[in-house]
């Protein structure tokens, strides 16, 4: 195996024997032995999967529930042994199948930190050195001597996460562990991913959040029904995944609800970035949303607008052509239109969704609304606290006791 390769997976398959009725007793074992009743089903979770992950790569494994991606992950982690084929791993691999493994509700926060640290391979001394940072990062200083059972689930996740990110390893394997927690926590995860990417950490990420795949992964594989369906650059794999999921009408895509009377249809909505390589906005960038419209019936002066929400669904900013005093004029059936909203980046670091809406001229009803049609990320503010960022100047005037102004 060349030095460039972090993980090499050769023709790996995994078969489970699933007992019909858990035959966890000696009687059953005897009875089954005499009856020659197998009493189990063979399930092929993975079939002949091969691929390579290079060093320094942010690698995605995507697939639907039950596709076999978690089985693959557990084999990478060394928890399951492959039934066939082999896995070569170059370096130390640390898996996070779940945050806070081994957390015990009866122990205090402090004790759990040390236990969890030991499970991650840290010595007690190393943990003592990191302890303060961990607690500070989790913002749980006041709670460390309380039992874990008195923590809220959010606090537990925060504590576990803040230990997990200390892991120093060659290859980091993350399951959908980070899909839990509130918006604030997700934001921290995104920042963590960003940092991992910056320091060229080899990461294997299992997820079905295509937004994350597109934003962070260099390459990805799509696993479907235990077979490697597709291996390519992340956006292409994400696309393939979307196509795979498309026929299922009942399943909601990452987009939200759509409604409206349909005189005008939004055919496409996308974020425009300063350069084609960029996948997020930096503080100095302008945020651009482009909508493509298909006019089905003649309409007069429709109002076109966008609502920007944060990941928790709070409306952060709303604008439309009426508010901006822009006349859209008359549009006739069969026309197409393109409208671009360009705005200053006042948004703090985080993920935001855009809900485009086209309304009748007096907002009597909507022609078309697609909730959360697209999303974008903002990264890189030096002081990312609060919701918004706005250019601010400071003027400080000091007055001495005598009343004399000081220069």
């Amino acid at each position: 195996m060349s030095d460039e390769v972090a993980i090499k997976i050769n023709n790996v398959s995994k078969t489970f024997r699933l007992p019909h009725e858990k035959s966890g007793s000696i009687k059953n074992a005897f009875v089954n032995f005499y009856r020659r009743d197998k009493g189990f089903e063979i399930q092929k979770a993975l079939k002949d999967v091969s691929f390579e992950i290079k060093k320094g790569e942010f690698f995605g494994i995507v697939g639907r529930n039950g596709s076999g991606k978690s089985t693959l992950l557990k084999m990478l982690a060394g928890i399951y042994l492959p039934t066939g084929g082999d896995i070569q791993i170059n370096g130390k691999l640390t898996p996070f199948i779940e945050l806070g493994v081994g957390f015990s509700p009866e122990l205090t926060g402090r004790e759990n930190v040390f236990l969890n640290g030991a499970l991650l391979g840290f010595s007690r001394k190393e943990m003592q050195r990191m302890y303060k940072d961990i607690v500070e990062f989790a913002e749980l200083e006041r709670f460390m001597d309380q039992k874990l059972k008195n923590y809220s689930s959010g606090m537990q996740v925060r504590l576990a996460f803040s230990i997990a990110i200390r892991a120093q390893t060659d290859i980091l394997v993350l399951d959908e562990v980070l899909a839990v927690g509130d918006a604030n926590f997700q934001q921290k995860c995104i920042e963590y991913f960003y940092e991992l990417k910056k320091r060229k950490q080899t990461v294997v990420l299992v997820t079905h959040d295509m937004g994350v795949v597109k934003d962070f992964c260099d390459r990805a594989v799509l696993i479907h029904d235990g077979v490697l369906r597709y291996e390519d650059s992340a956006p292409k794999v994400a696309n393939e995944y979307a196509i795979l999921n498309a026929p299922k009408q009942t399943e909601r895509s990452s987009q939200g609800r759509r409604w409206g009377t349909g005189e005008i249809k939004i055919t496409d909505s996308e974020m425009v970035y300063p350069s084609s390589k960029q996948t997020y906005y930096q503080p100095e960038d302008r945020i651009e949303v482009k909508l493509n419209l298909n006019i089905k019936k003649n309409v007069e002066d429709p109002i076109m607008g966008v609502t920007i929400k944060d990941i928790a669904g709070r409306e952060i900013f709303v604008t439309n052509t009426k508010a901006l005093d822009v006349k859209t004029g008359s549009l006739s059936a069969g026309d197409r239109a393109e409208i671009t909203f360009t705005m200053q980046n006042v948004f703090n670091d985080g993920t935001y969704t855009v809900t485009p809406a086209i309304a009748e001229k007096d907002v009597g009803f909507f022609y078309d609304v697609i909730e959360d049609a697209c999303r974008f990320k903002v990264l890189g503010w030096p002081f990312p606290t609060g919701i918004a960022q706005t250019p601010t100047t400071v003027k400080l005037t000091k007055t001495e006791r005598g009343g004399r102004k000081k220069k």
């Binding site: 489970f16 042994l81 081994g102 015990s104 840290f122």
Partner: protein, 268 residues
């Protein structure tokens, strides 16, 4: 061996043992004091029943201490094997989520049992002083004897812990086996009450009986009433049967555990 006891594994082992201990006396007012109080109170009861009421002892000098030492060693074996039996299943959450050496879990519960043994031996020492038992220089043999018991218990523990993943009936079966073992081993009674030498010999082929009798001989009394395995076989080669059994238990336990441990995550 160096890999087995790497820095990380040692840290993990220490943490697992520590957790085990913290959780054991969770919520009790006296906490750790119970590890000493519990055996102490048990011994007081046994002392009254067997020494004061039943007056068994058959003329063995320092019978109370003799009795205690036997019980302590037997309890160590019982505690270690029954705790290890459920250890792999009990730590299923860890086994399914991270890769830690599987044997570490059994090993950590064996360490907890060893710590308890140490505490119990302190209590025995206290009783020795109270009973004016002279400290003999053969007492150092207690260390290899306890090591032998530990190895036997470890072999059984590895086997039981691995088998319990698949056969949950085992916990009940083992309970019965231990109970039978307790009465088949000369702990509460002296070997001399068995009147046929052939039976005495069979009894003393049991490694636990051999270890307990040897420990009593080394620490408490050299009295001829305290019959040890080597004495009854008159140093014949039969006296090595218990040792062979101990080594066999360890080897079988290790091999079975190794084979099964690959599938723990799937089978739990």
């Amino acid at each position: 061996m160096k890999r087995l006891f790497s820095k990380q594994n040692r840290a993990l082992l220490a943490e697992l043992v520590r957790t085990d201990f913290k959780l054991r006396y969770q919520g009790s007012v006296l906490g750790y004091a119970w590890s000493l109080l519990r055996p102490l109170m048990l011994f007081v009861i046994l002392y009254f029943v067997f020494v004061k009421v039943l007056k068994s002892g058959d003329g063995i000098p320092h019978f109370p201490v003799y009795l205690l030492l036997g019980i302590v060693i037997w309890n160590f074996f019982t505690e270690m094997t029954s705790q290890s039996l459920g250890s792999i299943v009990g730590r299923g959450d860890l086994i399914r989520k991270i890769k830690i050496p599987r044997w570490m879990i059994v090993f950590s519960s064996s360490i907890s049992a060893l710590i308890n043994l140490g505490l119990n031996l302190i209590v025995v020492a206290i009783f020795m002083v109270l009973n004016h038992v002279p400290l003999m220089n053969t007492a150092v043999y207690l260390i290899p004897i306890l090591f032998e018991v530990y190895v036997l218990a470890l072999g059984c523990s590895l086997f039981l812990a691995a088998a319990y993943v698949k056969f949950r009936d085992l916990s009940y079966i083992w309970e019965v086996v231990l109970q039978a073992g307790f009465y088949l081993t000369p702990i509460l009674y002296s070997v001399t009450i068995v009147h046929r030498v052939a039976y005495e010999k069979v009894l003393l082929l049991n490694p636990m009986a051999q270890a307990i009798q040897d420990a009593r001989y080394a620490v408490v009394t050299h009295s001829p009433l305290n019959i040890t395995t080597s004495r009854i076989f008159d140093n014949g080669w039969y006296m090595f049967v218990p040792f062979v059994a101990v080594v066999a238990a360890l080897i079988i336990g290790l091999i079975y555990f190794r084979g099964q441990s690959k599938y723990f995550a799937e089978n739990i």
